[in-house]
Structure formats: structure tokens, C-alpha cells
Symmetry: D2
């Protein structure tokens, strides 16, 4: 269990870091969508390792193939198969981790869960799996844009203590993509890049916060009680590797305010009901308000560091672990498309739910 | 949709604030559990309005009846019906809200979603619905305790800016219940109570943070990729009324640390693999590690204030809304059993999942 | 598990034969439906024991209460709670079955499944549970009729070897209800009634076949591969008590035909594509064709007979079981609303699915 | 929707007849199972076209690749990816069907459902999809055998009016595989082969009945009310291409019996509770009884015939359709592994459900 998400726009993924192939099955994408494969690949390239000096220089081939569900360029409404063939996956460099538990990683918990695991590159727990969900989310992005005019943009808001004051209503994808950090404010982005470089030189890693906005979401998406839109967004974010926290709207900061200051007054802008401020973050009672949906996700510092660490092997013997190989000192730039994917898949699912029952 | 949660330990709720009855159907509770109805009712009494001077003085009858699934005192393994009969529900006091949208509430979004809503006391969006999930969670609590020795305890960690440094490994339910604020540190609790009283006198409201711990969770609960234990906990919390943020383990604070300081080293304590610290908060890769699961949930200040507010009616005309009736100035004390319920239902579901596939 | 059905029009039931109450939660019924409570009760009265001399004279109160999800006479789009309060349920007459396994009943299999069961009147396995699904299906009926003009009619087609040649395109509910057997052809109905009376006098029971039709189903309902409309109809029928077989369209009889005789030719009737015959029974590839959906369900002879039977008790000792109390000699007349319910719930779910993704 | 089945042992398939690839994702297979890839391929070869003179001579490469979820020969407990790469799929021969609706096929209903379809070889409605579920069921077969000692065997019981009296308790897979018809009684099998050959020479097709048995299923698998084991088996069978009917145990024939003759008496065989006969077919109240589970599935004559047929094109114009290409005159021999797959997937799912909640 665990490899599927969504009730109507439903995605199932498979594949390990070093298996023969990984992929996704996307059910529920409505028929007739003209799929732009170039845009789909572009979404994937933003997640790919090796795209800049700030992230891991490992080269992974993330070339996606659409093997079913699309005919003559358009979706058919049936299951879309997305496939990534792993080429030249070297597993020899993982012999040093096969019998020990890397701190901060899922090695131990997978052993506790299943008793048997693919230890190469984290196996099923590898962040490589996120290629499949980013690909699926790329389809959701195209459908949400074409059908509902919804636009989802993420950005790096903070690296360690270096924070950017980003305006969710105004930020553009071009601004985000203009800098390898994916921080849309150039001066702050430069400081972040400098920090990341320094941390890498020290063999250490840093964490931070990704912010994201969905603009154009109409009022009325979300379901009551247990399937609130904000709840599903939280789950989607916390299901990303290394994510440890989630906020919507005012989030934790809002808990320092009084109700009289926090409530967003309604008004009528001539065409529709709106709120004068957006501390609620685009959902009220778990249903979208028509205002932008604004979230933040916290990512812990990358667990793979290059300093010796205390741990144990599978027999319980204490060992010192020294990582080899190449890894990200900071996952934040590559986490941006992941948070966007979390939003896109959640929104596409609720768009269909709202269509079905209204 | 939205009224069900869990895949194996599955709860479906129904009912509005002012309908004839509300309740829950609990599927998947294993047979043979001796159900302690007194303890179940005690769980509910902690959520009940009117339990102290700090919360709303409205008296609600939250007397739960178990109408199916239990025979001769033990669960049968089939669907358990839980029923609350609403007595003397007065809807006359809601005439002033039937045609306007209260700021911070779900009035507008329900209209956008469904076009037709029960406006009395928030209808399906009312926090009264949480009585049903607290009752269902009470069954989960008894099963988790009897079968797995798991204990879940929540507490008020912060009210506005008044914060308590609570030790999740040591806190007891008795300490929490000793004070009407449900803050287990008496001096801080007194300050919180004073603040809440002052805010109420001002016709305003405050928010804050609830912390919670699950102790005794074995390693190996949780599923990979999309159904991570932390992801499901996040969804369960964000599906609570007024919740705007979620953290597990180090959360947002952990993003200020370096990887070398954040990683929790593994060691063998003679019996099992453990970590020397618990910044990960009890899950790694979405699967429990055997350490305590520690979460925090942010609750915005209560939306129902007693000052005049700008809003619009259903026709879009600007109106000034002045709340009447009686409400909580601070939801935190009553949110403690809700966050516990979120944890309990999520853990019970994953306990069964781990039993099924291992 | 097992107490829920449907993905979008989703029904969850609870309750045993002799518990305090039973009921259903209906999720996914679109908002704004004006619910006719009298018609809902009329649907239930057709299932009720004691309605004629041909069925069990036990009097059950099947008075349904709608406790949530309906406001000012219209559905709100949120969970609809349906409740039946059991009054004066006598369990004393079941002492003779508490420790033995009645042949043909689920006593033994429930013990094998759960180890602990409510033995009174079959507990959760009692046909009394079907009151809840008939009530839920009554809502589906009203919605399907009001929104899509779909009409579902069932009838008794055969009792033992007495068979009626019913025309699914022409039969009316009035014809069906005109005779207590629910066979719409009076002469055959009389013969059936005579047979049932004779069998009852002998302390024995008979089975037979229920036929049903859904008229007005548009082309395009159903999902490919695993959730075909005919597959879901089959599951819904086989989940009815005593059902042992299912056919759609030509069914088993069609397997004696050649392809050239079996294929239904398409033609255009001026407005839409139709078929000249309907051996396919209204679905092709699991999706509705726009022709009437026609099914048949086989019901075994009632297991409760009034002759002594060989069986064992819970300790494995051989015992002779002699039934006391009053039961149906023939379940067919009361099975008609159950088969209709199976169709109605399945169709309502697929109507919503087709709305969501198209 | 529709491409997934099972709640715990969950299979999702993708792929069309003439796409680049098709496959399945199998979730919920417990870890540690030693997977026999040769046996998996052997299961697939029984479904493959071109395996004998009685079935279509089209050669399809059904070589399955296991691309994830298996490490060092054993399942890991995570999603298993199964992949079939389509080689040399020629779509040119389908130009004559792109704009018309073949009688008996799903061309029209897919157009009604989705408005856009892959017309090559039936697209998603092609029986080629069943390769994916047979592969997934092969994993279920190995797990059910290794863990529970369950054996599932199907056979051809009837072709048109030529019927074999097969003993479900004694039949072996070797007997079934000994003849290309998959009828285990040689004299009847020869008559079936003769009939099929004659029908093919006439350009026509025949249908029939597949029988199947699951031996070794313990008492206690199945869930009450809506997810009865027999209901799920019915759905799994009716979701197979061309299946129009389902029976369990005495089925339709049992409706001609009296209750006193139909009930299976319980006795204790020294080790466990059994029934002296098995008219119930292995389930009582939807839960397995420990007796063999015995089902029958009706398959209509193949819709692809080689005689001219009346139909319409997409614009509603009448046309005469004359099929070209090569097809099965009788699907029965190849339907045997499909019915087995339906049983295997259903049983594996309920085995896990019974493990989770008991």
C-alpha cells in the first residue's frame, strides 16, 4: 500500500532507485486533453539531479515515455502509463550501506516494516520515485491550466536562516527559474547560493522552506470533514521526502494573532465574493474560497552528509558510517517542483470531485 | 465525499450541528475487544462544551450510544454504530446568519460548493461533528492500548505567545487534565487562563499550538510514498476545524539546523535499535522508527468574535455582522482531544495495515 | 470492512437484527434534491416482512428517519444519515441457536471469521440489514429519476419451475405490485402463490429468479477493465442474501448461440445510435449502450426450513436442529426491492463517475 | 477509473492493444516471497494467442518483465511493476474500423463514454489488457500457494451445447492442459475441438462456460454485507471480456430445489467443521466455509465473426462491416486462465483482509 494517491485523478507509482524502470499510472485524466510532451519533460528537468552546480552532479536520465492512454496526441480518458527506463544503474557503490542503517534515512524503518529491502540508493524510499509523481503532476498541470485556468508556482522561500519575502500573488515562474536556487528574489538567491556552496565545502547540508501558490482556483473545491483541501495538501507535502512541516495561509504565525485581526473580511468586488486579505490561505472549512491557495512546506537538512556518523549495522553492532558518492547539500531547489506536484495532484483530484457532486 | 477516513480502521461520520442526530460508523475494529463505555464517554466529555469557565458555556449533550457492532460487551468485528441524539436543538438563534457569510467560517465556501446549506450553527462544518470522530477515536484508543500498548497524549503547548516547554516523553494525562487549559505546566497554565479570560472580556479570541505524543508505537508502521505515517497525521490534523499548520519532530525549527546536527544517530540499547535523539519525531521515510511520534498542530484564533465585522450577504450586499450567542474565546483546551483523535485514528489504521502486509 | 459500497454515491450501513438501531450513511448524493420521504418509506414497505400472506408474518417496524444531510426538504450534498430504531427486539427466541450452526446460514463462517458473533437473528448477517440499503437506494432512485429519467423495475420471474415470460421493455411497477408475489403476469403469479402456500404447509422452502430492468440509462455509464457496469451489478446482486447467480442480457442462455446470431446490429433511429436487439443487456465493454440494462439474479431456497436438520454445535458435537419461529417460505417477492436496490446504487455511482470524468 | 482492483492485494493495469507497452502495478504482495519467474511466464503463455490451432493464430509477444518490487529474487513488499513491451504492433489493419461501430464490441460505448478512443484493436477495451491481470494473478497464485496452500484450477466446462461433467474436487491442472481446448475430459474435449473447427470454417463463433475451483481456502475469508467473497468473485468474472453470467455453488440450477434438499448439513470430520455436500459453493453469508469455492462463468460467442454485419459509422450512416484479420472462433480455452486470475486476485485480497482484521 501507499503507492497510490487521489480518488478521481488517481496516480499509482512504482519503481526503485536502481531497478530496471520506474513509472506511474494516471487514472482519471479526462479525455481530449492535448498533451504537450515537451512541457511534460520540462517539468521533469526541473526535478532532475545535475541541473546546476548547487545540486548533486549525478546525472540521471529522466526521459519520460507515455506508453498508453494517449492517442493521436490527446488523452483517451483511460489509464495513462508513464515510464522511465533506468539506464546504467550502478549498484556497486552501495555495498557499504547494505548492512547498516544510515542516520536520517529509511533503511532501518523499511527493515522493520518489511524485513527485506532493496538497499541500493534507498530502494523504494529513494527520492528518485518523485520523478514519477512529477510526471503525473505535469499532466495535472496541463489539464488544470487548460480546463480551469489554474496556475501553480512554487519557490524557495528560505534556506537555513536566509529568507525571501515573496509575494504569492505576483511571483512568476520565470522569476523562479531565473536562478538555480529557485528563489525569485535575486539578491536573496545569491546569498542562498553562497551558503549552499559553503555548506557543501564543509561536507554538511542545510534545509529550509518552500512556498507555493495556486492561483485561479475557483470557490468550491474541497470536501468536508476528513477530505478537506488543506488536509489533502498537507498529506501530499508531508509525503515528500524530507518534509517535516506544513502551513496554509497564516499557519503557525497566525496563532500569535487575535481573531479580530486574523479574520478576513468578505466583500463583493462587483463580480464575485472575495476577501480583503488572505490569511486563511484560500480555504475555509476545507473548501476553496476563490482566493489564492498559499502553502509552505519545511524540509529538513539533507540526511546524507560527508562527515563520519555513529550508527549500527543490521546485527546491532555499532559502526561508524562515512558516506561516499555525490549528493545534494540542499534539497530546496529541487523540492520546488515536488511541492508544486503535491498541489497539482491534490487540486486536479478535487476539481473532479467538485464536478461529480455539486 | 469527505465523511470517511482510514483504509482498514475506517470511520464514517454524519450529522450537523442542529440535525436530529449525529454519529459515526466504525469499520475494521477487530473482534473481541472489551469496550469500556465509561472510558469512551470520558473521552467525549473532554471535548464537550461547557466543561470549564474557559470554554463556551453552551451545554451540549454528548451522550454516546453504541447501537451495533458490540455484543455481550465485546466488539464483533462488524460495523460499530455510534449515535448522538441532539436534544432541544434551538435553531431560532441562527436567523441572523442564514443569509450572510461570517468571516473566517465556511458559510461562503459551502454555498460555493453545494449551493444549499444548513446554516444553523455551521451545519456540517460545525465543530460539533468532531464529537463523532472523538467517539470513534475512543474505540481506537482502547484497541491500541489493549493490543499494542500504545498511549497517545496531547496538551496545550502555546496560547498566543504563552508557551510551555513540555517533555513529550514524560508528560502524563493526569498532568494535562489537572488544569482546565490542558497545559500540563501549572504556572504556564495559569498565565494562559488569565490571558483567555482577558481576551474574552475584550470580545476577542486567541489561537495557539497543541502538542501530542504517541508512545509505544513499534517500528514498522506506515506505508511508503503517498501514505506515509507523517502524511496521514498531517491530513488528520489539518482536517480539524481551525487547524492551519502541522509539524512532526523538529518541524519548521529543524530547518535552521545543519544535517550533521539534525541526524539522529542510531544505537542498540541491548534489546532493539534506537536513536540517541528524536528530531525525526518517530518516523523515517514515513514509517515509524520505534521512537515516540511527536507532532504539533497550529490552531488559528477562533473566528467567532464579539466585535462588529464587515462582510456580505448572499446577494453580495455589504453588511455589518455582530455575533450573538456564546462561543469559545480559545479553542485550544478542547482541541487537545481532537488532535489525540487524529493521532489515534491514523495509528489504528496503520497498525492494521502493518498486520495485513508484512 | 464490507459495510460500504460505491465510490462516489457511497453507502455505509451498520446494525444487526437485534441491536438498538441500524442505519445507513449516504455520501455523494448531489445537493438540491427534493427528497420525498413518503416515497422513501414506500420503497421500504415493499421489503418489509409481514406485508402479505406469502411472506413471513413477523412484524418489523421499518420506519426510517432522515437525521442529517437534508435541510428544508432538500439534500445538502453532505452525508445523509438514515436511521431505523429497533423496538421490542426479542432475543429470547434465539437461545436454541446460540451454540449451533444452522445449515445454509452464516453462523459457522462468522465464527470462523471473527470468533465472536451476535447470534440473535443472524446478527450482522441478517437480511434485516437490507432495510438500510433499500433506504439508501430509495434516495438513489429519486435522484436518478429526477436528474436522468432513469427507471428501475424488478419482478419475480420464476419460483422453482414456474416461470413468467416478462417483457422488460413494457413491464410496469403497477403490474408488479398488483400481486403479492410481485410476478407481473397474473396467471403465473397465481400459480406461484399456490406453490408457495403448498411448500409452506410442508415446512419447506423454494427459490427462484428475480429479473430487473433499468430503462433510460444513457450510453456512456461504466468504467473499463475492473469496474465495468456489469461487474458492479453482479457484485451488488451477489452481495444480497441468498443470491447464487447473476446474468446480464443473454446470460447463460446466450452461450448456446453463434456469434452471428448473438451480435446486436447497430442502427441509427434518427436521433441516436441503437441496437436492433438487446442480447447484450445494455452494456458493451462494461459501459452502457443506451439500451435497457437487463439482469437476472438467482436466489436459493430459503435456508430456514421447518424440518429437522443434521448439524453440529460449536464444540463439534452432532446435533439435530429443529427451527422454531416464523420465516419466509419464499424470499422472492421481498427480493425484488433488493435487486432494484442493487441496480439503483450501482447506477447512481456510475452516473456520478461519468459526470466527473468525461 | 476502473483500472484498479483489490483493496489490499491491489492491482492497477495500463495499456492498449497497440500502444508502446502495457503492464500492471501490484501493491500489497507481502515481502519475502520467492518469485518464480518461469512459472509466471508459464501462466501468461496459457493466455497467449497462437498457442494452438483452436485459437487465433496471431502471434503476440507476452514476455513479462518485473521492473520493480523484487530484489535478489524476493518481493520487497513495495509496488511490483510488471511490463509488457509491444513490439511491431501494426495498426494499419484497423483503418477499416476507425469510423464504425463493430457489433458486439465496445467501440460505440467508448465513444459515448469518452468521445475519443484508440480504435486500434479495441484500444483499452482489447482483451490484450488481460495479459496484465494474468501476470498479476500469477504473483497472487504463488503467494496463495506458498502461504496458504490454496490451489486454483479452471477448465472449459461447456462449448455451445457440448458439456463436460467435471469433478471440481478431483480435476488437475495436468488434465486441463492435456488438451488444447482445456476441457479435462478427453472425449468431450475432442468433440469441442471438432465443433470449434467446424464453426471457424463457417466464419462464425461459439461461446460456453468455464468452471473453476479454489481448493484449500480456509474458513473465514470474506467480508459481510457489500464485500462478500462471492460478490467480489462475480465482479471479477463479469469484468472479463465477453463474460455475461456468473454462478457460485448450485447457482441457477439450485433455484429448482427445495430448501430441505439444498441445505448442506454440517458435520465434524474429527479435525474441523465441514459440510456433507457443497451446494453452497464454498461461501455462506459471503464468507468462506472451508469447502472448495466453486464457480462458473458464461462467455458469449466471440463478437468478431467473418460474415457481413449491419452497423453504423460514427456519423450514423448505415454500413456493412466485413471483418478482416484473424481472431478466435472460441474464446473458452483462453478464458480459463482469465477466470483463474479473477479467483486468484480476489482470494489474495481477502486473505490479506482476513489477516488484518480478525
Amino acid at each position: 500500500m501507499g503507492s497510490s494517491t487521489g480518488r478521481l485523478f488517481r496516480v499509482t507509482t512504482f519503481g526503485e532507485s536502481h531497478g530496471d524502470a520506474l513509472g506511474a499510472v494516471v487514472e482519471g485524466c479526462p479525455p481530449g486533453l492535448i498533451l504537450d510532451l515537451g512541457a511534460l519533460q520540462a517539468d521533469l528537468d526541473r526535478r532532475r539531479p545535475g541541473q546546476s552546480k548547487l545540486v548533486t552532479p549525478r546525472k540521471e536520465r529522466d526521459r519520460v515515455r507515455v506508453v498508453s492512454g494517449v492517442f493521436e496526441g490527446r488523452t483517451t480518458g483511460t489509464a495513462i502509463g508513464l515510464l522511465f527506463v533506468n539506464e546504467n544503474a550502478h549498484s556497486k557503490s552501495y555495498d557499504n550501506v547494505r548492512d547498516l542503517y544510515r542516520p536520517g534515512h529509511a533503511d532501518y524503518t523499511y527493515d522493520a516494516r518489511y524485513g527485506h529491502r532493496d538497499y541500493r540508493g534507498g530502494g523504494r524510499a529513494s527520492a528518485r520515485e518523485t520523478a514519477a509523481r512529477v510526471a503525473a503532476a505535469g499532466i495535472a498541470r496541463q489539464w488544470l491550466s487548460a480546463t480551469h485556468g489554474v496556475e501553480v508556482i512554487g519557490w524557495v522561500e528560505r534556506v537555513e536562516d536566509i529568507e525571501a519575502a515573496v509575494d504569492p500573488e505576483a511571483v512568476t515562474r520565470a522569476q523562479v527559474e531565473a536562478h538555480p536556487t529557485r528563489c525569485p528574489i535575486p539578491a536573496v538567491a545569491d546569498a542562498m547560493a553562497e551558503r549552499i556552496t559553503a555548506v557543501r565545502a564543509d561536507g554538511d547540508t542545510v534545509g529550509g522552506v518552500v512556498g507555493a501558490v495556486a492561483r485561479g482556483v475557483p470557490a468550491g473545491w474541497g470536501d468536508p470533514v476528513f477530505d478537506k483541501l488543506d488536509g489533502e495538501l498537507a498529506k501530499a507535502c508531508l509525503s515528500l521526502p524530507a518534509c517535516k512541516g506544513f502551513e496554509i495561509g497564516s499557519g503557525f504565525a497566525g496563532t500569535y494573532m487575535r481573531g479580530s485581526a486574523h479574520n478576513d473580511p468578505f466583500f463583493h468586488d462587483g463580480e464575485r465574493v472575495r476577501t480583503r486579505s488572505n490569511r486563511h490561505g484560500g480555504t475555509l472549512g476545507g473548501i476553496s474560497s476563490g482566493e489564492s491557495v498559499i502553502i509552505r512546506a519545511a524540509f529538513k537538512p539533507v540526511s546524507t552528509i560527508f562527515k563520519p556518523q555513529e550508527t549500527v549495522d543490521r546485527d546491532g553492532n555499532p559502526v561508524t558510517f562515512q558516506n561516499k558518492g555525490r549528493h545534494d547539500p540542499c534539497v530546496l531547489p529541487r523540492a520546488v517542483p515536488l511541492v508544486e506536484a503535491a498541489m497539482l495532484l491534490t487540486l486536479a483530484d478535487h476539481a473532479l470531485r467538485a464536478t461529480a457532486i455539486r
